[in-house]
Symmetry: C2
Subunit: 616 residues, 2 copies
């Protein structure tokens, strides 16, 4: 073991996956399993825990019809895990179940998980799925079909999504469809075995991967999946043909036979595009659940204003919208004579005031601005900004909630930025309905409308994070979250639309039923919840949003919203996902309710706003 | 209203189902709904609550694609329920959903349920199901198929099995298959509407019901389902043909047009067989969850002994078994010379000692009895019994746990009654393995073997009772319960078998995977858990048990056991139910784990015995 480890580490590998024990004898007293490494002292404790991942005997079959084999397998599994715990290994690889029915294997692993301190168990799963023919879909389930994801899904459901149970994928020479691969990015995949037989040979005799394999491996890099090289070298590269590297002086050490494969994987890693600036900033927020802001009920803090004001892309869009509105409203010939009354409702520390004034300058229109803000702390900053910029004659600051302000005159244009990740979820509709009293009859609201969108997603990470709170309320709350370890299972669909001004005083309650079709080639899938987005029309063709297909690039003010499901729903291939969303109000609050009715009915989430609501 | 009510009550009815409001006008402000009874004062509060069930307007359609109708429906529903609450009605009947997709209706009812104090909501459901042809089963789901149970199932899942949401069935002239009807006995059916058009006419022109309808109505009586007569009289019975009753002097009151139907229903009720003695005794235990006894860990109380000793059928079976064993063991010619050593292990207060001595007398065999009992309190009674009966020379009392007693000689026959509702669940295997040290090599154990059985059941009553504890532990506990409001969905299957003596010291851990086929004509069904039973072979053909097909009649010592599921599983027609049961041991305890793996995987229940176990 010491030699194996030092040879691998010096050859550039980070860790080795090693069998822990060997079956030395079987007698009437059952199998006696002895450690492979004669003692835990052969290497140091930190070497064991940093550089060795245990590999559980692959012969075990806990669902064998042979009782003896089944019972021996259980004993072996428990002994090997106990030994691995003794060595403080970080993880052990469990062999893939021998049959689709893996109830006893899962029961035993689940029992082990209940008492496991820190170690991860990686269930090895071949990346394999029978492809579906057009004709097959018409029949009901074909028993010949194999989809390793389904086996994993049963296993983890039996183990209740245990956070220490994860996946080590086996990458085979041929890969299933892209949409079926996509499912794995919503799963806790920690490692991928890349067998030497999955490599091709390039023109110079070196190992390389197919384009599809390259793309998959890049996806793994992006999701922090460890790559494990396995198998024996299939590429006999003579030492002479090796490129001379700085390690040339290490000639004394025999070169690792898998080194060319490692070099190739390292090359793929180095070749990746560097993470864009914005993604680097947002890296720390990946899959981190945040409660949505309640800017109406609470006053935002200075730091929050500071962050959002830096989103120049957003304010550029607002400026473009105001420009177009000004030009539409005031013909060039009247530009010098007519003053437009523009009110920024929810002015904060002034970014929309600035954008509006810049629009006026750009279009040569005369502007009178009212900056209405309910947060008295922000008003202080607003006053000093105006003084600093010398806008005293142009801008009137109003320290008041827009819903109760008695305006001295009516506005031509109402500008606001009251949108949340799900569009209306920060109560923009209620605020603007309150403000439209002082908008002229032919006045313009910027934004003029906004629509929310959802799509079903698979994300065991977020599901587990919600579950860890062990209460109902967290399962009935929508979260703002930078989605990363997520499989998006179907294209987004529009949910609620609000348009302003809303002079007919249409109710802001909404109800929408949506039906999502997951592509049949995806196979079965698990829906842990719904990702939500918005798109807003600021003015005419100027829009702003985070809906993935139309998202405004390089804008960072909004992460998506996530509506969890209390019980994740497994969806069979070709089965539609029917979901309902409601926007309700009552008392001094607004809330959403949601549920799934197909393939099976879930409870109604957040009934009466009992768990999550936005205060008016 | 006062007239309507008094007419109905004086005609023999218990309550009326009445529309509460009428739509008086619709204008631009929406519908205005006014109470039908001009004031709550027209009848007394106790009359409202005792004799009136409200009927919600049947036109409401909360899932209409017409937004106006949908919103009006919601307003009407809420207003009518509010009015019914004001009147303190005990229940309101909700109309059946207009379409299979009833998400918005369920959401609104669910919201109402959250704030409802005592009133029950009865969802009216037609007893209707398309019958399945042999051929249909091969195809996947046929969209033409209708099964009103599925609609109810979605509705109640959306409302999370709310205990105030129940069913009022509409009995139609033709009835679906018997096994599909059976499902309703696991549901919270509170009332059944029996329409006059569902009645036939007998030879004398009177209304009557078909045999199948009669049987169904009898089932409703047995399950405390209220029968509601609806519709107008289809049987014109001239007053002259009426049988003269004691009410003849009430001629002044016009006879109620539904009276002949009521008389017929009353006749069906009176014709029912009286409840057998045993069922009357057990009536109070119906659907009442009890924790199984732990007679090994705890000492039973005198009252418990008292109850069980009265089960003469049980001890008669034991006596028959001992007789047969004695005759087999000692030929007639040796009867007077050979003394058989019989040990009662777990003798309690002595009923098996008595049964054994009676068997000896009956067969003319000579017996030496050891009565081994670990409960020192029971031993006191045992001693006085022996003195009272004058058995001092025949019986030796041993106050000791059978697992550690050092017997002075070996036994020919070991007699025990250590079985629980699920056979081995009171640790008979462990006790008898401990006692067999003092059984002769060719000795006999009575019982010689026992087997547990399970079957999937639907029982929303028990599910709700378990759920009401609001914790995991209660969902992972098996309960002893007199099952009544239960639908048994498939025939029982054997789970674990234990045989004694067990000289090979086979482990008492067990694992069994079972696959249940619910008859396709049942339709979809919901599995809330599994009912468990046992059957024991005492000796050769003498058996004892509660497995429904072979149950020993008139024995009352055991109710079935119930293994709940944390999340009930909806099973589509023709889909098998695969379930796993484990018997495990560790530390000083024995426990079961269980799970479902088809149609979808449940969590493993009671992992490591965390919630429920039996102490050794």
């Amino acid at each position: 073991m010491p030699q194996v480890l030092s040879h691998n580490l010096s050859s550039g590998f980070d860790f080795v996956v090693a069998t822990l024990t060997c079956l030395v004898k079987k007698d009437n007293n059952g199998s006696a399993v002895l450690p492979f490494a004669a003692s835990d002292l052969v290497i140091t404790p930190s070497q064991w825990s940093s550089h060795v991942v245990g590999k559980i005997s692959s012969w075990i079959d806990l669902d064998s019809v042979n009782d003896k084999l089944r019972i021996d397998s259980e004993i072996t599994l428990k002994q090997e895990i106990a030994w691995a715990c003794h060595l403080s290994l970080q993880a052990c690889v469990l062999p893939f179940p021998k049959s689709a029915s893996c109830g006893n294997y899962a029961r035993c692993v689940n029992q082990i998980l209940q008492g496991l301190s820190n170690m991860q168990l990686w269930l090895r799963v071949p990346l394999e799925k029978s492809e579906v023919m057009e004709d097959d879909m018409k029949d009901s389930i074909n028993p010949e079909m194999f989809d390793s994801w389904e086996c994993w899904n049963s296993f983890r459901l039996l183990c209740e999504h245990h956070s220490q149970l994860s996946v080590a994928l086996d990458i085979l020479p041929s890969l299933p469809s892209i949409s079926s691969l996509g499912r794995w990015f919503g799963e806790p995949v920690r490692a991928a075995f890349l067998h030497t037989k999955s490599f091709l040979t390039n023109a110079r005799g070196y190992p390389c991967l197919s384009k599809r394999h390259q793309k998959l491996v890049a996806g793994f890099f992006d999701h922090s999946v460890q790559i494990i090289l396995s198998g024996t070298s299939k590429h006999n590269i003579s030492p002479g043909s090796l490129p001379q590297t700085k390690e040339a002086d290490n000639n004394a050490i025999p070169r690792h036979q898998l080194r060319p494969y490692l070099d190739y994987v390292a090359y793929l890693y180095q070749r990746m595009d560097p993470l864009p600036e914005q993604d680097r900033i947002e890296h720390g927020y990946r899959d981190f659940l945040q409660s949505p802001l309640q800017p109406l009920m609470d006053n935002l803090e200075a730091q929050t204003y500071e962050t959002f004001e830096k989103d120049t892309v957003k304010y550029t869009q607002y400026q473009r919208a105001v420009c177009k509105a000004l030009v539409d409203r005031i013909p060039d010939e009247n530009a010098s004579t007519t003053t437009v009354v523009l009110m920024v409702v929810g002015a904060g520390r002034g970014p929309l005031v600035r954008a509006s004034l810049q629009a006026a300058e750009e279009t040569g229109r005369k502007l009178k601005v009212y900056a209405v803000e309910k947060n008295p702390n922000a008003v202080v900053t607003l006053h000093s900004l105006i003084k600093l910029e010398g806008w005293e004659k142009l801008v009137t600051v109003v320290s008041c909630d827009m819903r109760c302000w008695e305006a001295p005159e009516k506005a031509d244009i109402l500008v606001s930025e009251l949108l949340g990740s799900f569009g209306d979820n920060e109560l923009s509709p209620e605020c603007l309905d309150g403000a439209q009293r002082f908008l002229k009859e032919d006045g313009i609201s910027i934004p003029s409308s906004y629509t929310s969108f959802v799509q079903p997603v698979s994300t065991s990470k977020l599901y587990n994070d919600v579950k860890s709170h062990k209460d109902l309320a967290h399962f009935e709350t929508a979260y703002v979250v930078k989605l990363h370890r997520v499989a998006r299972l179907a294209p987004t669909q529009a949910v609620f639309t609000f348009a302003h001004p809303n002079y007919s005083c249409e109710s802001n309650d909404r109800y929408k039923k949506l039906c999502f079709e997951i592509p049949p080639e995806t196979g079965s899938a698990m829906v842990h919840g719904f990702a939500g987005y918005f798109d807003a029309t600021l003015y005419k063709d100027v829009h702003l949003g985070i809906e993935p297909n139309t998202a405004t690039p390089n804008m960072f003010s909004w992460f998506p919203i996530f509506f969890p499901l209390r019980t994740p729903v497994t969806v069979a291939p070709g089965s539609p996902v029917e979901v309902h969303f409601w926007r309700c109000h009552g008392g001094a609050k607004v809330w959403y309710e949601w549920c799934v009715t197909s393939p099976s009915a879930s409870p109604i989430h957040n009934s009466g706003g009992r768990s999550y609501w936005v205060g008016l």
